[in-house]
């Protein structure tokens, strides 16, 4: 489906809700705003319920006969299992502070994309089916029954939430729509309502270790291919190791870095850094083909699925006997590592508290999880003067930095990436206040929504981010949007190209790779993208 031109799309946004009661306004599922249904084969492979072929545009979603019982039972169970969910169902006062904080609402104007109303879709069921007041007073108490129409609406809008948590920053009670969406999707998955852009990667990650289902030999081929490219740029070929028992550190990154431009350049940056550290300081980092996916599509399915996929990291670290784990640039991967992994699959007592063997820095903040973010690792190297960096190679780049939702609102990871940027290039500009750090905007494709068929809603959701980029592009000629998330790199490339042509997207370690002077390298003519370096444009 062709999408409108940016100016038309922008002009058509209205934040004025329709007349009448939202409970009476039945939402129609619109092409461009939903993702295709999960492939039954993928569901079967990992044992998810109700695998079948179905189409969200059809009337019949082929639900199990007792679907209401399953959903309401699941809802009750989760009210006991998650205090967060129970409180979030009870205490919202509908003050509306969250309403215009959601990128999907800002860009689409669809009132059910106001976080408060997206939550009310489920809350109304909680009241109408579970609480006494709601059962007796019905709509006067904001309750309603779980009908098929209501269910379809929940599916539609819970896959129009990227779990970015921006609303939770503004909520006076800390109500986190991401948490409600996560549990809402868990309920939907109980009766086989999901999307293929999540279901297939889940099955692929489970089987092969990466979201595209690339098998081990092909995974290695991809990395080899990057090594060839690096050799072409600087005359030095990194020699990464795979599945190496007894290595110092296991490195895990989202598979997007291995398979999708422009993440691939970030991946080259990692390879160059590891090569440098091996040559200069003897650091032994290994990659795993088995635990080759840092991203966790299980997180977008259910807590259980998240745990099943995440388990590989610790299992592989144990098998290889490494000291600790290093993680690549990724958003939700880090939300899972930071807030879930140790709880779900720990304690990782077979690993050591991470210490950088090069600087001696002990990563106390990762003492229990035993996993360090490559950005803090590199920042520490730079701070201690361990890297030979040549900023001038990035002189053509005027960069801004996009804080990824998960590392921002799930970790508070703000200064580490900025420190690296400022040390690898000179032209750095911040986007306007209110769009960065804890108030950063989602790329529009997080939480498994970066599909092709939902392009319209992705561009709508991408508007606030892209618009802030446009601001620094217009004012300072910014031409590079740097970020530390694989989904960002994929999604923003499209949405920035749509809203602000002329700006490219990169990962932080691509910039590091450009600036890093490898021992014995030949004079570089191009950067990692094979673009001529500053001063080498002519000839």
């Amino acid at each position: 489906m062709a999408i409108e031109k940016p100016d038309v799309l922008f002009k058509n946004i209205s934040h004025r809700p329709p007349q009448g009661d939202w409970m009476d306004v039945q939402s129609k599922i619109k092409p461009g705003r939903y993702c295709y249904a999960g492939d039954p084969e993928a569901l079967e492979y990992v044992g998810l319920p109700n695998p079948r072929k179905w189409n969200p545009l059809d009337d019949d979603w082929k639900l199990p006969e007792n679907w209401q019982e399953i959903v309401i039972g699941g809802l009750k169970e989760r009210l006991d299992r998650f205090r967060s969910f129970k409180i979030f169902m009870d205490v919202c006062v509908r003050c509306g502070a969250c309403a215009d904080k959601c990128h999907f609402f800002i860009g689409s104007g669809d009132p059910k994309n106001m976080p408060v109303l997206r939550a009310e879709l489920l809350r109304s069921i909680y009241r109408g089916e579970i609480t006494k007041a709601g059962k007796i007073l019905g709509r006067f108490a904001g309750g309603r029954k779980l009908t098929e129409e209501v269910l379809k609406e929940i599916w539609y809008y819970y896959y129009q939430c990227t779990e970015c948590r921006r609303c939770s920053v503004f909520c006076p009670y800390g109500i986190d729509q991401a948490e409600i969406t996560i549990i809402g999707r868990e309920l939907l998955n109980l009766i086989g309502l999901n999307i293929d852009w999540i279901a297939k990667p889940v099955a692929n990650c489970y089987r092969t270790g990466n979201h595209l289902g690339i098998q081990p030999h092909a995974f290695k081929d991809m990395i080899d291919f990057f090594c060839d490219d690096i050799e072409e740029v600087c005359g030095i070929r990194p020699e990464p190791t795979f599945n190496k028992v007894g290595a110092d550190i296991l490195f895990v990154t989202p598979s997007g870095d291995v398979f999708a431009d422009p993440g691939t350049y970030t991946c080259m940056g990692y390879l160059m850094l590891f090569h440098y550290l091996k040559e200069e300081y003897g650091l032994d980092v290994t990659w795993s083909t088995y635990a080759s996916e840092g991203g966790n599509f299980g997180f977008f399915t259910s807590h259980e699925m998240m745990k099943r996929l995440n388990a590989k990291m610790y299992m592989e670290a144990k098998r290889l006997g490494v000291k600790w784990i290093l993680g690549g640039e990724c958003g939700h991967m880090w939300r899972v590592i930071h807030q879930y992994m140790d709880t779900m699959n720990g304690p990782a007592d077979f690993l050591e508290t991470p210490v950088s063997p090069i600087t001696g820095t002990k990563f106390q903040s990762a003492a229990s999880t035993k996993m360090v973010h490559i950005v803090e690792f590199t920042a520490d190297l730079i701070k201690n003067g361990k890297l030979n960096l040549d900023k001038s190679r990035n002189a053509n780049i005027k960069a801004t930095f996009h804080d990824s939702c998960n590392t921002s609102r799930g970790m508070g990871f703000f200064e580490e990436p900025r420190y690296i940027i400022k040390n690898v290039l000179d032209n750095f500009y911040e986007m306007p206040e209110g769009t960065t750090k804890e108030q950063t905007f989602c790329c529009g494709g997080g939480s498994g929504l970066n599909a092709g068929e939902n392009e319209e809603i992705r561009m709508m959701g991408g508007l606030p981010r892209a618009n802030a980029v446009k601001f620094v592009h217009d004012r300072h000629d910014v031409n590079m949007l740097s970020c530390i998330c694989a989904i960002d790199r994929a999604t923003l490339t499209q949405s920035v190209n749509y809203w602000v042509p002329g700006v490219e997207v990169c990962g932080l370690h691509e910039l590091v790779g450009n600036a890093l002077v490898l021992p014995g390298e030949s004079e570089r003519e191009t950067d990692l993208r094979a673009e001529p370096l500053p001063g080498k444009e002519e000839e």
């Binding site: 006991d80 509908r94 408060v116 904001g142 006076p172 800390g174 508070g412 990871f413 703000f414 580490e416």
Partner: protein, 342 residues
């Protein structure tokens, strides 16, 4: 419509008290039985709700981080917005509960010509919300003079300060005026801001009208429909000392006021007003963001089915060997094993 329903419901409640306690002479019911019941329902209901929340597990640490986290020693952490210690959490909760920190962040988005999305600070909601909550607290506290004898000094002081402008006789309470103004703002906002109107339910209008009518009936009693204040105190003291009496000459306006307060107490535990208790327990705010440093335990963590390395290697061994990837079991061995089995 939803607002009108709610308003009529409050009118009906007022009428009920007027007829019941006034015309029908059921002062004991409205002055003693209903208030006692209301307090019991409030306390039991509130406690039950909080205990219910408390019983629910906290499986994961899902702090929303709103500042720089604890990291390398040379990076300055924001100890309040992203607390890594209990002290930080307490400070964060203090700002949240007493100053409405998160609401203070509120901003407004506007779309402008030339494809420009603009954000501006929007503190009105914060201002009127905090004004309402604090003045309501003051009103609650200065009512304590009806339930204590002799009246402790702090309550006396509060009463004096609240009426220090000395407007009219009896002196006008500032808190009442501000509370009504703030509530009116919150109500008008619901009625006239289209998006807020769209999300509003009867359960949002009803408490607004109810509290407004509590305030108005209180003010009426003080300034317009004179009530025998000594008789009222006799009744309220009777209630707190569990020796209930219904003195003569307490006007029906007092019973209306008391009945509306009772309804508020009845309604409280089953409504969104429970945000008063919930704000203390919200896991995104009251947990330290130290999950990588200190392991959080999930009480219902259960084993799950995983794809082991062994199963993975079994499936891909041949291709791995071909690509020079190390394997645990050599290829020949597995072939032999397979043959032996046959």
């Amino acid at each position: 419509m939803k607002a009108i329903y709610s308003m009529f419901l409050v009118f009906a409640l007022i009428l009920l008290a007027m007829i019941g306690a006034g015309a029908m002479g059921m002062e004991y019911l409205f002055g003693v039985i209903i208030p006692y019941l209301a307090v019991v329902v409030f306390i039991v209901g509130f406690a039950a709700k909080v205990v219910g929340w408390g019983k629910a597990a906290v499986p994961f640490n899902i702090t929303t981080t709103c500042g720089q986290g604890k990291s390398l020693p040379w990076i300055k952490e924001n100890k309040i917005e992203n607390p890594s210690s209990t002290g930080g959490v307490i400070a964060r909760m203090f700002f949240e509960i007493f100053l409405f920190r998160s609401l203070f962040r509120n901003s407004k988005v506007e779309l402008h010509d030339g494809q420009r999305v603009a954000y501006s600070s929007s503190k009105w909601l914060w201002l009127f919300a905090i004004l309402f909550h604090y003045t309501f607290l003051v009103i609650f506290l200065r009512h304590m003079r009806f339930f204590t004898e002799p009246v402790p000094f702090p309550f006396e002081m509060l009463d004096k300060m609240d009426s220090m402008l000395q407007i009219g006789a009896p002196a006008l309470y500032l808190s009442s005026v501000v509370a009504i103004a703030a509530l009116s703002y919150l109500l008008l906002r619901r009625l006239f801001v289209p998006s807020v109107r769209y999300i509003s339910q009867p359960a949002d209008y009803f408490p607004l009208f109810l509290i407004l009518s509590v305030l108005v009936s209180g003010i009426m009693m003080r300034y317009f429909v004179k009530t025998d204040i000594m008789a009222v105190k006799e009744l309220t003291m009777g209630l707190v000392t569990f020796r209930p009496v219904v003195p003569e000459g307490v006007g029906s306006i007092f019973y209306v006021h008391l009945f509306l307060v009772s309804v508020l107490l009845f309604y409280f535990p089953m409504s969104k007003l429970m945000h008063m208790g919930g704000v203390f327990l919200s896991p995104t705010r009251n947990m330290p963001a130290n999950t990588r440093e200190v392991r959080h335990v999930n009480p219902w963590n259960y084993p799950v089915k995983v794809h082991t390395y062994e199963a993975y290697e079994d499936e891909f061994r041949e291709k791995m060997v071909e690509a020079d990837l190390p394997v645990v079991k050599p290829l020949e061995e597995t072939v032999e094993n397979a043959e032996n089995k046959e």
